[in-house]
Chain length 289, copies 2
Amino acid sequence: MDVMARIEKSLVTAVALADRPGCPPRLSAAMQAAVFPKGARVRPRLCHAVASACGDDEPAATDAAGSAIELLHCASLVHDDLPCFDNAALRRGRPSVHAAFGEPLAVLAGDALIVLAFQTLAKSRCSPLRLAQLIATIGDAVGVPHGISAGQAWECEPQIDLSRYHRSKTGALFAAATVSGAAAAGHENPEAWRTLGETIGEAYQVADDIRDAASDEEEAGKPVGQDAAHGRPNAVLIYGLTGAVSYLHDLVAQGIRTMPPCAHAHELRMLMEQEAKRLVPRRLAASAA
Amino acid sequence: MDVMARIEKSLVTAVALADRPGCPPRLSAAMQAAVFPKGARVRPRLCHAVASACGDDEPAATDAAGSAIELLHCASLVHDDLPCFDNAALRRGRPSVHAAFGEPLAVLAGDALIVLAFQTLAKSRCSPLRLAQLIATIGDAVGVPHGISAGQAWECEPQIDLSRYHRSKTGALFAAATVSGAAAAGHENPEAWRTLGETIGEAYQVADDIRDAASDEEEAGKPVGQDAAHGRPNAVLIYGLTGAVSYLHDLVAQGIRTMPPCAHAHELRMLMEQEAKRLVPRRLAASAA
C-alpha cells in the first residue's frame, strides 16, 4: 500500500470511532467533515517518511502517530475557523465546520478530535514504551507551553512574540511529526530528529508566504495577498521572490544535513528534495529558476 | 499528606507547565482560573479512594490519573460556559473564563487543558502498561462515542436521548474515575470497577436534582428551581423529596455491592457512605430522616 493510502486508511479507522451506535450523529458528521476529504496530509507524510527511514518496524505505531498528528491539525483548523478567531466560512473550498454544523458542534468536534488523537494512540497496540514517548511528544506539540494552543494564544496577548508564535503554531507539529516518526520506529534518540521537523516547518511557512505573495487565488486555493494587506511579515516581501525560493531550498538542505544516521537516509533525502519542489507553485519555480 | 492536599499538589504541578517561559501569560492565567481555587474535586477523590482500596502501589500513577480527570472536568466546564452553550457569566461565584479573559482564550484554555490531561499522564513516569490503560480509559470518558464531548453534543441533535446524554455527559467521567483508580493501582480487572463509578455518577446527578429542587440558592451555590422552570426531568419531581433521598442512598448501596474484592474494601465502603451523606444538604437530610 502506498503511503497516502495507508494514511487515509488509518484516519478512516480512527474517525470511525465516532460512528459507533450511541454517538450523536451530527457530532460524527462534523468530525468527518473536519478530516475528509483529504488535505495534503503533509505532517503524517513527514512522520511516515522518518519512520520509514528508521526501519518502520512497528507499523501500527507509525500509523497511530501519523493519524494523531493529522487529527490534531484538523482540530486546530476547526477551532481557528470559529467566529471568535478567523470567522472563516470556507475551508479548502467547502463550508467550515461551524458554517455547516453551527458553533456548538464546531467547538465539540474540535474537542472530540483532540481526544481522538490520544484515543487512537492508546488503542494502537504499539509497544507501551513507545506509546509513552509518542503521547509526550505529540501532547507537547499541541499543549502548553510551546504547542499549537500556546502559539494561537499569542494572538490574545497585548504584545505578540512573532518568532514563538510561528514556532509554536506551525513548527511544533512538524517537529512532532519527525520526532514521533522516529519514536514510532524505535530510533534510539528520537529527539535528534527535531531540528529536521522544525526546519521543514519553517520551509513550509516560507512556501505559504510565496503562495500568498506570488500566486493567484486559483493556484493557492485561498485568497492571496493577505500578508501585504495586513502588514504581516512575509519572506517574499523581505527577500524578493527568487530570494524566498532559494531560502526555502536552503532550509530544506539545512534540515537534511541535521538528519541523524538511519537505515534509509538516501530515500528520505530524495523525498525531502521532491517535497521542497512540490511546495513552490510550478509557474513560480519556473520563473525563479 | 491527606488526599485533598495530595490532589491539589498534583494539580498545581500539572498546571505549572503553563507557567514555563515562552507560554503566553494570559493563556496561563486563564488555565489557572479554570482549575483554581479548588472545587469539590469529587472525581479525583473517587479515583484516589479506589486506588487506595486497591493498595495504591504506584502513587505517581494515581496522582496523574486524578489530575487528568479533574483537568478534563475543568476543561468541559470552560467550554460549557461559552456563549454558544450556556453563556454563563459566573462559575463557582466568580467570572467564568470567557467572561474574564474573552472567548478566544476560553476556547484555547479548554483545548490546552484537554491536552494537559494527557501530557500529565505521559509525564507521570507511571509504568508504561498502566499508562496505556489510563489513557484509553480516560480518553474514552471524554471523547467519542460515549464520553463528555458526545454527551454534550446530544444537545445539538433534533432528538435528545436523555439517558445517553446523562450517562455520557456526567457518568462517563465518574466511571473513568473508578476504573482508572483501579488501573493506577494495578488491579487485575479495572473494568470491574466501572459499575461503581456509573452508580456514584448517577447518585451525584440525583443529589444535583435534590439541590435544584429543594435547597435555597445560598446552600446550592447556584440558581435553584431550574429543572422545574425548564421542564427538565428531576428525581424530586418524580419521587418526592424523601423518595429522592432514599433513591440516592439506594444507588450508593447498590454501587458498594458491585465493588470487586480488594485489599481495603471496608475503608472504601465507609467513605462511600460518608460521601452519600455529604451529597445531601444537611437541612434536607434532617427533614427527610
